[in-house]
Symmetry: C2
């Protein structure tokens, strides 16, 4: 019975993983769009004030079980990866 329960929970986890992959990529697409708009306006892609606001919003929305600091750490990785994606796009645009 324990093993069936474990398999059931792992199935649930796999579904959430799939949704996360999709949602993180959806976020990446929006970040790419933002990067394009900013490039067109000559704005800096890195915006620490906006990042701070997003981190504060995570704190406001967090109902657990993860600590806010844990979620913020994960999101900082996502921010960093998004910025790298925007920079790659920018370099590619320059090469066209």
């Amino acid at each position: 019975m324990g093993n069936e329960q474990l398999e059931e929970l792992r199935g649930q986890l796999d579904k959430v993983n799939d949704q996360l992959v999709e949602l993180i990529n959806e976020r990446a697409k929006i970040a790419q769009e933002i990067g394009r708009v900013k490039s067109a306006q000559g704005l800096n892609r890195f915006d620490p004030v906006r990042e701070r606001k997003m981190l504060d919003s995570i704190e406001a929305n967090n109902e657990g079980p993860f600590e806010t600091s844990t979620l913020q750490h994960i999101f900082k990785e996502i921010f960093k990866a998004s910025l790298e994606l925007q920079e790659d796009d920018h370099r590619k645009a320059l090469l066209v």
Copy 2:
């Protein structure tokens, strides 16, 4: 016009951030359940074979724009945080 577009995109990003916070916490709850079932069965909470399978599944499901290695890096942070959560729960259970 560019600023309106930027605000619209930022609004979209904020919504995705909220969904991500919710989904990452949903995943954490399932991981906590798995931790409890494993504790009850005397199983080790860290399972590198299962982690490998989840990382492979990310590769299979990734439609971009993020590179698979980027997503896997983000997920490894989530795995690590989940394991820490399971270990905290276990310590608390021992103290009861």
